[in-house]
């Protein structure tokens, strides 16, 4: 039997082909048997299409119509792009034309310029730097009062000082120390400056070099130096050393000659003393007075009294820059600096700044360095105050003199004067040195003991006293140490040989000097010991004396011994000066312990004996100490 088959084709084809029929058959259908009738039955249902009338529509394509719609987006194009940088704007700064100096010395080279380098001082510390290419540079800084950009850029764009100073035409005899470079740079950029370095740090050299640079850079063309008359030769010598090419004219001679010099054109540097300045300017009509780009006052404490004629004349000079030089900007009172500031035109006329204001002004306009801070390579100075008990004879004489003296002063009542008190002070100070009757002296005993040690080690000492008679008196006791005497009583032409002998003769271990003659201008750096047998009134003068030994060139520690007799006027004066120094440090800053110039005023002198200054005598803060010692100061007693 064959299985019934069912085939499904595609409907479309099905509709066109005959639908197969199912067929049933018996096996052996050919065999006789009952006849089986087969009948074909169609299994496909019949489908007829109903004539609905919509059939045509089904075969018809839909009709589509298009229309534009605004989408709201625009696409634009830029035909070309140009970099719109615009014009770069520039700012210009030009520099003043420099003064031409002497050309460098010609070298026997083949037509090439040669560098003339300054000879360098031989210093031990320099060995390690010899091969160093990158040296320290001291750049000029704009002054704090330079407000305009042009002014500030002028300084920033200057070459480092080391480069400038090594320049061909600016021959320096010695290479400056770092603090000197700093000072030169500071001065160069300051219109108003007070250089108040401690003595021995080279104020003169720094000033000359800064002036030299100002002239060279065309910043100044006419400079006036004013200094005390005795210092003019010193300045002339220093100018020859540090700026030999600069022509200097000293205003001196009779009135006509001076008048001619004042009006002489084309002189870059004029030099004069305070007296000539004051006299000549007072006599000149205001319109006839010369004008300067820079005025430098040396030893500027000379104008500390703002009412003095000298101060007035100095302030009246027409100038663009005002520099003041002094190692002792304050001699008695901080207010004295106000007069210097007035000259420098940093305070209004008659201004009276208080301590805080002075301190702020000092920060900007004062440059002050002390040796121990800047001369790192210099041996230290060892100060020791030796408080000595007087001998019994000295003590007895001292007490009697003091008691009687105070009684006498009290008996004077309102008639008492500062001079009376001062006289007693001097008498007592002399007794602290030695007893007038017996000649006993605790100080001398101590000195001899110290000298034995110094002489045995081959050392040399210098000793200072206020009185030449004291020096003469102690000389016999010091004979074992080969004493030499150097004071105002020694003829001038004999002085130099004395110093030479002291330096070269190994048997001469001590040089006895007076403050007045020995305190300034001497180079005794081969001496390692300094004795202050009695105290000067002003520590600044003592420092000047000490600086004869403790200065550039000294190789060893300098030991400074101050003899102070216990329970005497010396101790009391020392205490007063210490107290005042603390106050003044607040103006000049800490670390300034060596060089503040102090003196006692009248009230303080009276106070030494618990006396009250009479009205009008102590209140005026009058300085009663002796003047700064000079050649003729000897024998103050």
């Amino acid at each position: 039997m064959r299985n019934a088959e069912f085939e499904m084709g595609n409907p479309e084809a099905d509709s066109q082909t005959e639908i197969p029929h199912a067929e049933f058959r018996t096996p052996n259908s050919d065999a006789p048997g009952p006849a089986i009738v087969t009948q074909t039955i169609s299994l496909t249902p019949r489908v007829d299409i109903h004539a609905s009338g919509a059939n045509v529509a089904l075969n018809r394509w839909p009709n589509i119509e298009c229309s534009e719609i605004d989408a709201g987006i625009r696409v634009g194009t830029v035909p070309a792009w140009k970099p719109g940088w615009g014009r770069v704007r520039t700012v210009m700064l030009t520099f003043p034309e420099a003064i031409q100096f002497l050309p460098p010395k010609e070298e026997p080279a083949e037509g090439e310029l040669q560098t003339v380098r300054p000879p360098k001082p031989k210093r031990d510390s320099e060995d390690g730097d010899a091969g160093s290419e990158k040296k320290k540079r001291t750049r000029l800084k704009p002054p704090s009062d330079a407000l305009s950009l042009e002014d500030r850029l002028f300084y920033i764009l200057q070459p480092p000082l080391e480069t400038t100073l090594a320049g061909q035409e600016l021959i320096m005899p010695f290479e400056p120390f770092p603090h000197q470079y700093e000072g030169i740079g500071w001065l160069f950029s300051q219109k108003h400056a007070l250089l108040a370095d401690e003595m021995g740090l080279g104020k003169t050299m720094q000033t000359i070099t800064a002036v030299r640079l100002l002239l060279r850079s065309g910043q100044v063309r006419r400079v006036l130096f004013v200094c005390p008359k005795p210092l003019i030769p010193n300045w002339q010598r220093e100018f020859r050393t540090w700026a030999e090419e600069l022509p200097i004219v000293t205003v001196e001679g009779n009135t006509d000659r001076r008048r001619m010099i004042w009006s002489m054109p084309g002189v870059p540097i004029l030099m004069t003393n305070y007296e000539v300045l004051s006299r000549d300017f007072s006599e000149m009509h205001e319109d006839d007075r010369p004008k300067f780009d820079l005025v430098v006052l040396d030893e500027a404490q000379r104008i500390k009294n703002r009412d003095s004629k000298t101060a007035e004349v100095a302030r009246d000079i027409t100038r663009k820059r005002s520099w003041a030089l002094t190692g002792t900007p304050i001699e008695n009172r901080p207010e004295e600096m106000a007069s210097l500031f007035e000259f420098m035109e940093v305070v209004p006329p008659r201004a009276t700044p208080d301590l805080k204001q002075l301190s702020r002004l000092a920060d900007v306009y004062v440059l002050r360095r002390v040796k121990e801070l800047v001369m790192k390579d210099m041996p230290p100075r060892l100060d020791r105050d030796e408080f000595l008990e007087m001998t019994p004879a000295q003590n007895s004489a001292y007490r009697i003199a003091e008691k009687e003296g105070v009684v006498q002063l009290n008996e004077m009542g309102d008639q008492i004067s500062v001079a009376n008190v001062f006289e007693l002070v001097l008498r007592l100070k002399q007794i602290t040195n030695f007893d007038p009757l017996t000649g006993e002296s605790a100080k001398l005993d101590r000195l001899v003991a110290d000298m034995e040690e110094i002489a045995s080690s081959g050392g040399k000492a210098i000793l200072f006293s206020q009185w030449t008679k004291v020096l003469d008196w102690m000389k016999p006791a010091l004979e074992p140490f080969g004493p030499l005497i150097y004071h105002g009583g020694v003829p001038t032409k004999k002085r130099e040989p004395i110093l030479k002998q002291f330096k070269e003769d190994p048997t001469k271990h001590i040089l006895l000097m007076s403050y007045g003659t020995g305190a300034v201008g001497l180079n005794l750096q081969f001496a390692g010991y300094v004795f202050l047998f009695d105290r000067w009134w002003n520590p600044a003068v003592e420092d000047q004396a000490i600086n004869r030994a403790h200065r550039i060139g000294q190789k060893d520690t300098v030991i400074v011994t101050r003899f102070i007799s216990k329970d005497t006027i010396e101790e009391r004066i020392d205490a007063v000066l210490r107290h005042k120094r603390e106050i003044f440090e607040s103006v000049l800053g800490p670390g300034d312990k060596t060089n503040v110039s102090l003196s006692l005023d009248a009230a303080e002198i009276f106070g030494l004996f618990d006396l009250k200054a009479p009205a009008g005598k102590g209140s005026r803060m009058k300085k009663v100490a002796p003047k700064i010692p000079s050649e003729s100061d000897q024998d103050a007693a």
């Binding site: 940088w85 030009t94 070459p159």
Partner: protein, 193 residues
């Protein structure tokens, strides 16, 4: 000393050129003209030059060379009244200025460049490929523009009056300092303090 060589020495004008990047991406440039001792004669500086965003995108890596060399360098060179006979810079981008002027333009080599430490390795590579001959003036080494190798000999000839120990990178530091001072005064901030 022969007068001819002295005259040449006296007429030598050195131009020291640099640009400083500002905190906001702009640049200021400065040109200092000095005599042979490095003493200033004239200084020109630009106001800040800043690119906008479009310019940044379109100039891409060529932006800084364009601003520094083409805009700033050329503007300064054009406007300075004392024309330098030799231009020295610490910025390689300034070498493109040589294409616009007749004076030799040299740039510090990598070892002598103050900004060398800040430059990337890629910058250094670009720089090395862009520069030409090397020459030592004073005690500092410079390089020329790649297309002007002859500038090395010319510069050496011009710089004969200069001391062999002279540090010719120092005046460039002065210019940088002056630009920073200028920016501090007008309120701008240099990128590198």
């Amino acid at each position: 000393m022969a007068s001819g060589s002295k005259d040449r020495a006296d007429s030598l004008r050195l131009g020291f050129l640099t640009a400083v990047e500002l905190h906001d991406g702009g640049f200021v440039g400065g040109l200092l003209v000095t005599d042979r001792f490095g003493r200033p004669l004239e200084f020109q500086c630009t106001t800040p030059v800043r690119a906008n965003r479009t310019q940044e995108l379109l100039y891409g890596p060529t932006l800084v060379p364009f601003i520094v060399g083409e805009l700033i360098g050329k503007a300064l060179s054009d406007r300075i009244s004392i024309k330098p006979t030799l231009l020295l810079s610490d910025r390689p981008e300034m070498l493109t200025l040589r294409e616009h002027i007749d004076a030799p333009v040299l740039c510090l080599t990598g070892s002598d460049r103050a900004s060398a430490s800040a430059a990337s390795a890629e910058d250094e590579e670009n720089f090395s490929s862009a520069v030409g001959s090397k020459v030592t003036l004073g005690r500092v080494e410079f390089q020329t523009h790649a297309e002007f190798p002859e500038d090395a000999a010319a510069a050496q000839q011009l710089a004969r009056p200069i001391d062999s120990k002279a540090d010719l990178s120092e005046p460039i530091e002065r210019v940088s300092e002056a630009l920073k001072e200028t920016m501090a005064t007008v309120g701008g901030k240099p990128k590198v303090a």
